[in-house]
C-alpha cells in the first residue's frame, strides 16, 4: 500500500533536477564586468560596437573572460577587479572621444560566473534587492493635476484660434482651474461654438448654462478618457526623461518602473552618490528658443573668421556645426506643450510638430512675423551646457501655436529631435516621496545575516528532527532541504527580487514547512500507538494528516496573498517568498517525503517496525523501541 507508481517518482526526479539546475547559478558567484550601453537615443549598440570594444581591449592587452551581446548592451566579463577598472578606462577612451558628450554608458557591473550553458537555459542567480547589494531607491510622485492644468491651458488657446477661424463671436474665454468657460451672447453662437468644439476638439466635453439676458456660458472640460490618456502620456514622458538623465550616471542596471497611476520608482543599484543622483533626477533641463545672430559679425563668427559679437553666444549644433545665437530668450520649454515626429502635409518630408501654449503662440506669431527668412535656434540646456537641437529658417508667420520644423531631416532625425525636445521638459512636475540609500558594506552584511539566520535555524531543526524522529526525522530533514532547494530555484526562475525580509520569509517558510512533517510523524506514531501495523500506520498517518496540512497551509496562504496585494516595498518582498515557500512546502513535505518513505519502507513485505523514535504506550505496555527495517 505504500508504493508510488513510477510516474510519481519520475515527477520527483524531474522536480529535483530542474530545482538543482536553476539553483546552480547561485553557487557560482559573480565576476567583475564592464557593461557598455547606449547613452543617447540616437546611438545604437551593435556588433560594430562590440568589435570596437574587442579592439580596444586587445590594444590595452586585456584578455576578457567573455563578451556577451544581448541586443541592448555589451557585457564584458573579466577575471579580476583590477582588470575591470583598466578595461573600463580602455573602453571609455576608445568609445567616448569627448567626455563632455558621452555617446555610450560604460559602467562597472557584476556578472554571474555561471557557465554559458546555464545562461542558455535561462538559469540565472536570484535577483538581489537593493538592501542586499547597496544602491539608491527613489519613489517619485508625478503631479497629474499640473499636467492636466497645462493641457487645459493650451487647449484654451487653441479654442480661441479655432473660434476666430470659424467666426464664432464670443464675449470671453477664460480658464477656470481645469475647465474652460466661454461666454456667448445668443443661442445661435452657442450652437456654432458647440459644433466647433465637437468637430475639432474630440477630447473636450461641454455643458451649457443660460445666464440672465439671454446669454450663455459654455463650459468645456477634458473628457475622462482623454484625461487618462494625458496622464498616461505624462507619466511615459517623465519616465523617458528620467531614463535619459540616468544614462549619464553610468548605472549598469537602472530600474525605472511605473507604480500605480501616478508614481515612478527608480532604483539605481551600486550608486552611492545620492546627492548627484538626486541632482540629476530633479534637474529641470531647459529648452530655449532664440534668434540666430544674422549680422555680418555673427556670420563671420559662425564661419570661424571673427570673434563672437557682443550680445550673442556661440553654441554647437549636434553635428558640431557652430551657431551664433542672440542672448535674448524668446520662449522657454515651459511654453512648449508637445513635440511629435510626423510629416509635412505638402512635401511629405519628415517633420517635427510642436505645440505651444497660448502665451507661447502669441509671442511666436509676433517674432515670426518680424523675422521671415531669418533663422531661429532651439536650444537644449542640460548640466548648464547648451546644445542647438535645430536651427530652422522661418518661412512665414506662424500663428495658432502649431509649429512645424521640417527640411533636411530623415525620419529618425525627426523622431530624435522630437524626443530631445520633449525630454527637455518633464510633462508634469515630480517630487521625491520616498528615498532609500543602502551602502554596499551594509548590503553584504545583510546577506551574511540572512544567510546565517537560515543556516543555523535549519541545522538546529534538522538535528532535533533526526534525534526525535530517527529515520522519519531524516526523511523530514531531507524534505526540508528539498524545500529550500525548490524555493531558491523558483525564486531564481521567476527572478523575483530577494530582499532581507525575503530571506526572513525563507527562514520562516522552513520553520513552518516542518509543521507538516511533524503533523505526519506524530500521526504515524499515534497510529502505531493505537496498534496499527507499521505499513498501515504510515499510510494512515499520511492520509489523515493531509487534510489538516491543506487547511493550515491555505489559511497561511490567505495571509500571504493579502500581504502580496496590499503590501509595498519590504512587505512585498516578504510576501513573495512567503507564498512561494508555502507552495513548495506542500510538495516537499507531503509528496516528496512520502516518496522517500515509500522508497525506503514500501517495498519491504513484512515490515516489523519503523524507525520513528520511541512510541510510548499509555496502557503501561512495553514501549516500542526504535527498530530498523524488518526482514
Amino acid at each position: 500500500m505504500n508504493r508510488y507508481p513510477v510516474w510519481k517518482y519520475a515527477i520527483i526526479v524531474i522536480a529535483l533536477l530542474v530545482g538543482f539546475l536553476y539553483t546552480l547559478p547561485n553557487f557560482f558567484g559573480e565576476a567583475p564586468a564592464v557593461q557598455v550601453s547606449s547613452g543617447k537615443a540616437t546611438v545604437k549598440v551593435d556588433t560594430g560596437t562590440q568589435r570596437r570594444v574587442e579592439d580596444a581591449l586587445k590594444a590595452a592587452g586585456i584578455a576578457p573572460a567573455g563578451i556577451l551581446f544581448d541586443g541592448n548592451s555589451i557585457k564584458i566579463r573579466l577575471s579580476t577587479g583590477d582588470e575591470q577598472l583598466r578595461a573600463k578606462d580602455a573602453i571609455q577612451k576608445a568609445l567616448i572621444p569627448d567626455p563632455a558628450d558621452p555617446a555610450y554608458v560604460v559602467a562597472l557591473n557584476l556578472l554571474s560566473r555561471s557557465p554559458s550553458w546555464l545562461s542558455a537555459v535561462g538559469a540565472a542567480p536570484m535577483y538581489l534587492g537593493l538592501d542586499l547589494r547597496g544602491g539608491v531607491h527613489f519613489m517619485l510622485q508625478v503631479d497629474m493635476q499640473a499636467a492636466l492644468t497645462r493641457k487645459v491651458e493650451s487647449l484654451s488657446g487653441d479654442l480661441r484660434t479655432a473660434f476666430r477661424e470659424k467666426n464664432v463671436r464670443h464675449s470671453g474665454i477664460s480658464r477656470n482651474s481645469q475647465s474652460i468657460e466661454v461666454q456667448l451672447r445668443d443661442a445661435q453662437t452657442l450652437a456654432a461654438a458647440k459644433s466647433v468644439i465637437a468637430d475639432q476638439f474630440a477630447e473636450l466635453e461641454t455643458t451649457e448654462a443660460p445666464l440672465a439676458g439671454g446669454e450663455f456660458t459654455l463650459t468645456a472640460r477634458i473628457r475622462a478618457t482623454a484625461a487618462r490618456a494625458i496622464q498616461e502620456q505624462a507619466l511615459k514622458q517623465n519616465m523617458v526623461t528620467l531614463h535619459n538623465r540616468i544614462n549619464e550616471l553610468g548605472v549598469a542596471e537602472p530600474v525605472i518602473q511605473q507604480q500605480g497611476l501616478d508614481r515612478i520608482v527608480v532604483q539605481l543599484p551600486g550608486v552611492q552618490d545620492t546627492a548627484k543622483a538626486k541632482d540629476i533626477l530633479g534637474r529641470t533641463a531647459t529648452l530655449e528658443v532664440r534668434l540666430v545672430d544674422e549680422s555680418t559679425e555673427g556670420r563671420a563668427a559662425e564661419s570661424g573668421t571673427g570673434p563672437v559679437p557682443f550680445g550673442s553666444e556661440r553654441f554647437l549644433e549636434r553635428n558640431s556645426q557652430p551657431v551664433i545665437v542672440k542672448k535674448q530668450v524668446i520662449l522657454t520649454g515651459e511654453n512648449l506643450t508637445d513635440a511629435q515626429p510626423g510629416f509635412d502635409n505638402q512635401t511629405q518630408e519628415a517633420a517635427v510638430h510642436l505645440s505651444l501654449d497660448a502665451k507661447g503662440s502669441r509671442i511666436f506669431r509676433d517674432i515670426t512675423r518680424e523675422n521671415i527668412g531669418k533663422r531661429m535656434a532651439i536650444l537644449l540646456f542640460e548640466k548648464g551646457k547648451g546644445e542647438v537641437v535645430t536651427a530652422p529658417v522661418i518661412r512665414s508667420e506662424i500663428g495658432g501655436g502649431r509649429v512645424q520644423i521640417s527640411g533636411r531631416m530623415s525620419t529618425t532625425e525627426a523622431h530624435d529631435t522630437a524626443l530631445l525636445l520633449r525630454a527637455g521638459s518633464l510633462a508634469a512636475p515630480m517630487e521625491i516621496i520616498e528615498e532609500r540609500t543602502i551602502g554596499p558594506s551594509l548590503g553584504v552584511e545583510n546577506i551574511t545575516k540572512g544567510f546565517h539566520s537560515v543556516t543555523w535555524g535549519f541545522l538546529v531543526i534538522v538535528a532535533f528532527m533526526c534525534v526525535y524522529y530517527m529515520m522519519f526525522g531524516i526523511f523530514s530533514s531531507v524534505a526540508l532541504g528539498v524545500n529550500l532547494l525548490l524555493l531558491v530555484a523558483v525564486l531564481s526562475m521567476l527572478q523575483a527580487t530577494l530582499t532581507l525580509p525575503g530571506m526572513a520569509a525563507m527562514a520562516l517558510a522552513l520553520g513552518m514547512a516542518i509543521d507538516s512533517n511533524v503533523l505526519i510523524n506524530e500521526r504515524v506514531r499515534e497510529e502505531l500507538r493505537g496498534g496499527a501495523s507499521p505499513q498501515a500506520a504510515i499510510n494512515a498517518g499520511y492520509e489523515r494528516a493531509w487534510g489538516t496540512i491543506l487547511d493550515s497551509n491555505v489559511t497561511t496562504l490567505i495571509a500571504g496573498v493579502a500581504l502580496l496585494i496590499f503590501g509595498s516595498g519590504p512587505v512585498r518582498g516578504f510576501a513573495v517568498v512567503h507564498c512561494i515557500g508555502i507552495l513548495t512546502s506542500m510538495f516537499s513535505a507531503v509528496f516528496f517525503s512520502r516518496g522517500l518513505v515509500n522508497f525506503w519502507y514500501g517495498r519491504v513485505k513484512k515490515l516489523k517496525g519503523v524507525s520513528i523514535g520511541t512510541v510510548w504506550r499509555p496502557d503501561g505496555g512495553k514501549d516500542v523501541a526504535p527498530s530498523t527495517r524488518g526482514s
Binding site: 551594509l442 545575516k449 497561511t556 500581504l563 496590499f566
Partner: protein, 317 residues
C-alpha cells in the same frame, strides 16, 4: 524519544473560564497600552528621514544628538543601532526643506564633527506614503480576517470560524500591546510579521478543530467537553513541537539577523507563544461556548447513485 506522555485526557475545558479570564485581562491590558501609549511607528508610517551612520570608533551619542539639535530640530532621536559604532538618527519632516537637503545638511554636520562618519543607509518617506501604508495595512488585515473566516466557515462551520478568528485577533492585539508597552519600533516588517502570525496561528486552531471534527465522528458516545479535551490532548505534542521548530528559526533570526530583523523576529516570538495559548485555551473554549454539536460536524451522508430529482428516492417500503 517522546516528550509528552499523557495517560488520560487533560481536562482543559474545566479550566476554560479561568484561562479565558487571564486571556481577557491580557487583551484589555494590551488595548489599554495601545490607546494610552500608542505605537512607536517607524518612519515608514510617519514620514521623515532616517539615517544610519557608521563610525570607526564607538559613537558618542549625546554629542551627536547635540550636533543634530543644533540644526534646529526639536524632535530628534539618536540611538545606537546594533553595534556601538553604528547610530541611527531619525529626523521629522520639515516644511520647506526637501528630503535631499535635509539628509545632506545633517550628514555634513556629522561629518564636520567627526571625519570618520560614513553614511550606511538613508531613508526618506513622504507623509502621503505613510498614510497610504496605514490604510493598506488595515485593508490587508481585513482581507486576512475575512478570507480565513470564509475558508473556515466553508471547511468547518461558522462557529469554528468565529472562534478561530477571535482567538487569533486576540494574539494580534497582544503583540501590538507589547509593542506599545515597550515602545518598540513598529515598522513595515513588523506589520508583515503580525499578519504572518495571524495566518500561522490559525493553523493551530485548524489542527485542533480538525481533530474535534474527527472525534465527533469517531467517539459517538463522548460529550462535547470530552471530545475537545481529547482533541487538544492528542494534538498538544504536535503543537509544542511545531511551534518549537518555528521558534528555533525565529530565534536564529533574532540572534543572527541583526537589528533590521530584530523586531520582526520579536513580533513573531510573541505571536508564536500567544498563538499556542490562544488556540489551545481560547479558540476551543469559544467554540464550546458557541455550542458546537455533533450535528454541526457530522453531516448526514447523502446516498450516492440516487437521482435527487426522483421524488421517491431513498423511499423504503
Amino acid at each position: 524519544m517522546e516528550f509528552f506522555k499523557f495517560r488520560k485526557d487533560i481536562p482543559f475545558m474545566r479550566h476554560a473560564l479561568v484561562l479565558n479570564v487571564v486571556s481577557v485581562v491580557t487583551f484589555l491590558l494590551a488595548l489599554f497600552f495601545l490607546f494610552h501609549k500608542g505605537l512607536h511607528l517607524s518612519v515608514e508610517f510617519t514620514g521623515g528621514t532616517v539615517m544610519e551612520v557608521g563610525y570607526t570608533q564607538p559613537a558618542d551619542v549625546p554629542k551627536l544628538r547635540s550636533v543634530i539639535a543644533g540644526l534646529g530640530y526639536t524632535d530628534v532621536q539618536v540611538q545606537n543601532f546594533g553595534t556601538a559604532q553604528d547610530v541611527i538618527i531619525r529626523l521629522p519632516t520639515q516644511k520647506g526643506v526637501s528630503s535631499a537637503q535635509q539628509s545632506e545638511i545633517a550628514f555634513a554636520a556629522l561629518k564636520a564633527s567627526d571625519a570618520g562618519a560614513t553614511l550606511r543607509r538613508q531613508e526618506f518617506v513622504g507623509p502621503q506614503v505613510g498614510e497610504e501604508l496605514v490604510t493598506d495595512g488595515l485593508k490587508a488585515l481585513a482581507m486576512v480576517v475575512a478570507g480565513i473566516m470564509i475558508y473556515l466557515a466553508i471547511r468547518f462551520e461558522w462557529k469554528f470560524a468565529v472562534a478561530a478568528i477571535v482567538a487569533n485577533l486576540h494574539d494580534v492585539v497582544i503583540i501590538l500591546g507589547f509593542f506599545a508597552f515597550f515602545q518598540w519600533e513598529f515598522s513595515l516588517a513588523v506589520l508583515a510579521a503580525v499578519l504572518a502570525v495571524l495566518g500561522y496561528s490559525v493553523n493551530e486552531s485548524v489542527v485542533i478543530f480538525d481533530r474535534i471534527r474527527e472525534n465527533f465522528r469517531r467517539y459517538r458516545k463522548m460529550d462535547t467537553v470530552g471530545i475537545i479535551d481529547n482533541a487538544i490532548t492528542s494534538t498538544i505534542s504536535r503543537t509544542i513541537i511545531t511551534h518549537g521548530s518555528t521558534q528555533i528559526m525565529v530565534l536564529s533570526m533574532l540572534l543572527f539577523g541583526g537589528p533590521t530583523l530584530y523586531y520582526f523576529a520579536l513580533a513573531l516570538t510573541i505571536g508564536i507563544c500567544f498563538g499556542i495559548y490562544s488556540s489551545v485555551f481560547v479558540g476551543a473554549a469559544i467554540a464550546m461556548w458557541l455550542g458546537i454539536k455533533r450535528e454541526d460536524m457530522v453531516k448526514p451522508v447523502t446516498q450516492k447513485g440516487v437521482d435527487p430529482n426522483d421524488p421517491n428516492a431513498g423511499a423504503t417500503v
